[in-house]
């Protein structure tokens, strides 16, 4: 099993969600986050004061999948979140030791 963490542009969330649904992924967790990579921030000016805003708003998406679906899911996120411009984000893939469905106490792939 894999845990896929993707940091994407906020306005791409709908497309990514639909692409994952089309790939058969049934659940995900979304968090509004702030961060920066190579894109860096922007400058804001308030009367005489200039501020560099490093942290830009992004969306963090977490999806737990079985090994066989992982490649398809990564592909779906990558394609749907891409604009080709700097700041598109990143996808991190981590091995996942255990999954528990709390309602039924099912474990492993059945619980994903």
């Amino acid at each position: 099993m894999k845990l896929i963490i993707a940091i994407i542009k906020p306005f791409k969330l709908e497309e990514v969600k639909e692409a994952l649904a089309a790939a058969g992924i049934e659940g995900m967790t979304v968090t509004e986050v702030k961060g920066f990579g190579r894109q860096k921030g922007h400058t804001e000016i308030y009367r005489g004061s200039e501020y560099t805003v490093d942290f830009l708003p992004k969306v963090k998406l977490e999806v737990a999948v079985s090994d066989e679906v992982a490649a398809k899911a990564i592909d779906a996120i990558g394609k749907s979140a891409r604009t080709g411009k700097i700041g598109d984000g990143k996808i991190f893939v981590l091995p996942l030791e255990e999954v528990v469905r709390i309602r039924t106490d099912e474990r492993g792939e059945k619980a994903v």
Binding site: E44, Y46, R47, G48, S49, V53
Partner: protein
């Protein structure tokens, strides 16, 4: 019969009553008095919540309540002082500098009497109208010291400042025996004009704000950490309320619903709109983008600069004054502050100190007897040497405000201290001073 018709005509024209004859309408004229009541409510609305939101939006979220609390605290404190002795010291008898205490606790200031303020408005409404000015003036200073002054120190400072600066200035500029009251005092040493408070309100608060923020020192992290406004939306909402409330401030200062009030209404509108537009265009040209804060700052600057001249200049002059108001305070906020490095948190000095001074001077340039006959040969003949008199009033206001504020600030600093601990300031004044948060979730 003739005398009774003369009374009615005087009322309709907002003119003086027939002297030495018993009138059958001894009380306030309903139309003029109604406008005075509306105007008073509008000026209260400028402070609560107009100014409170304008400033509240500009601070960081951890300090938003401290600004609201300071505005409300000042409204309460000043009202009590005004009732006790402030009104009396400002407008009851006395000498050219300060009034006496005969009208303490508003003794003899009655709803059914007229004449204390003007011919047809209730004496009690006059005291309430002037109270609304006395509230907003010290509240303006809050902008310069925002995010870093103890609440108790703010209140003690304001209490002393009212006695040493505000009451004397309200008296000198607007009382019939005041030192600088050109339109009402033919013996005034300085025959200056100030329609709605360029010197009394904006210069005293603006210059005092500069001195206080210098004595107070910069905010912790100033220049190193970013301190952007936490809500430009609140700031814009407050700006709109200030603009609307300012009709009470300026058009209400005609003390009647007459032609001068209409002129002040028009000049206020034209100056505010022009200055807001001009400030944003200046930003667009010099800094790349027209910002909402630029529009808001320009609108307030326009309102400030037109204040002393609102009832003395013609509408076209107000447009020219609006352009000055959009350019000069903009340069003060954008470049002067940076060059000198003082931490005037929300630009009270840049907008009110610079704007008030500019307004007092431009009033001397653009005042026109066609706008207000008191200036001309049928009135107090104030046009001769007017600009020089305005400059004298400006100089006196600056020197008085700077000296008095310096003395008060050092006294408060020595006795109770001005600033919270660094830890309290970092945590935010909302929690450390008031025990609550502006935004819980």
């Amino acid at each position: 019969m003739e005398q009774r018709i003369a009374d009615l005509e005087a009322y309709v024209n907002n003119g003086a009553r027939t002297p030495d004859v018993a009138s059958k309408i001894p009380g306030p004229g309903p139309g003029h008095n109604a406008w005075q009541m509306v105007s008073t409510a509008l000026v209260i609305f400028m402070t609560l919540p107009g100014l409170a939101l304008f400033y509240g939006g500009l601070v960081r979220r951890k300090n938003v309540l401290s600004v609201l609390a300071q505005c409300m605290g000042i409204a309460g404190l000043v009202t009590i002082l005004w009732w006790a002795v402030g009104y009396s010291l400002s407008f009851s008898g006395g000498n050219a500098i300060i009034g006496d205490t005969a009208a303490k606790f508003l003794t003899g200031v009655e709803g059914g009497k007229t004449g204390a303020g003007y011919h047809w408005i209730s004496d009690l409404m006059w005291s309430m109208f002037q109270l609304s000015f006395a509230i907003i003036t010290p509240a303006l200073i809050v902008g310069a010291i925002a995010e870093r002054m103890k609440f108790l120190a703010v209140l003690v400072f304001v209490a002393l400042w009212m006695f040493l600066v505000y009451f004397p200035f309200a008296h000198m500029v607007w009382a019939t025996n005041g030192l600088m009251c050109g339109p009402l005092n033919k013996d005034a040493a300085i025959k200056a004009i100030d329609f709605a408070g360029g010197t009394v309100v904006h210069m005293t608060s603006g210059w005092s704000a500069l001195v206080l923020c210098l004595i107070l020192g910069k905010r912790v992290g100033f220049g190193k950490e970013s301190m952007p406004p936490h809500s430009m939306v609140l700031c814009m909402v407050g700006t709109g309320m200030l603009w609307v409330g300012w009709y009470g401030f300026n058009a209400g200062s005609a003390l009647g619903a007459d032609g001068i009030a209409a002129n002040a209404f028009a000049t206020t509108t034209l100056a505010a709109a022009t200055a807001g537009f001009t400030w944003a265009v200046c930003e667009w040209v010099l800094r790349g983008k027209p910002s909402v804060l630029g529009f808001c700052s320009g609108i307030v600057a326009g309102l400030v600069v037109i204040t002393p001249g609102a009832g003395f200049v013609l509408p076209t002059s107000a447009v020219i004054i609006g352009i000055f108001a959009g350019v000069i305070p903009f340069l003060a906020c954008a470049y002067l502050k940076k060059a000198f490095g003082y931490d005037d948190s929300l630009d009270t000095f840049g907008v009110h100190g610079v704007g008030g001074t500019l307004g007092a001077i431009l009033t001397g340039v653009f005042a026109d007897p066609a706008a207000n006959s008191v200036l001309g040969p049928d009135g107090m003949k104030l046009m001769d040497g007017l600009l020089a008199n305005q400059l004298k009033a400006v100089a006196l206001t600056i020197v008085w405000s700077v000296v008095a504020t310096t003395i008060i600030a050092y006294i408060v600093k020595a006795v109770i201290g001005l600033r919270p601990t660094e830890e309290a300031e970092r945590q935010g004044l909302d929690i450390s001073e008031h025990g609550e948060e502006g935004y819980v979730s």
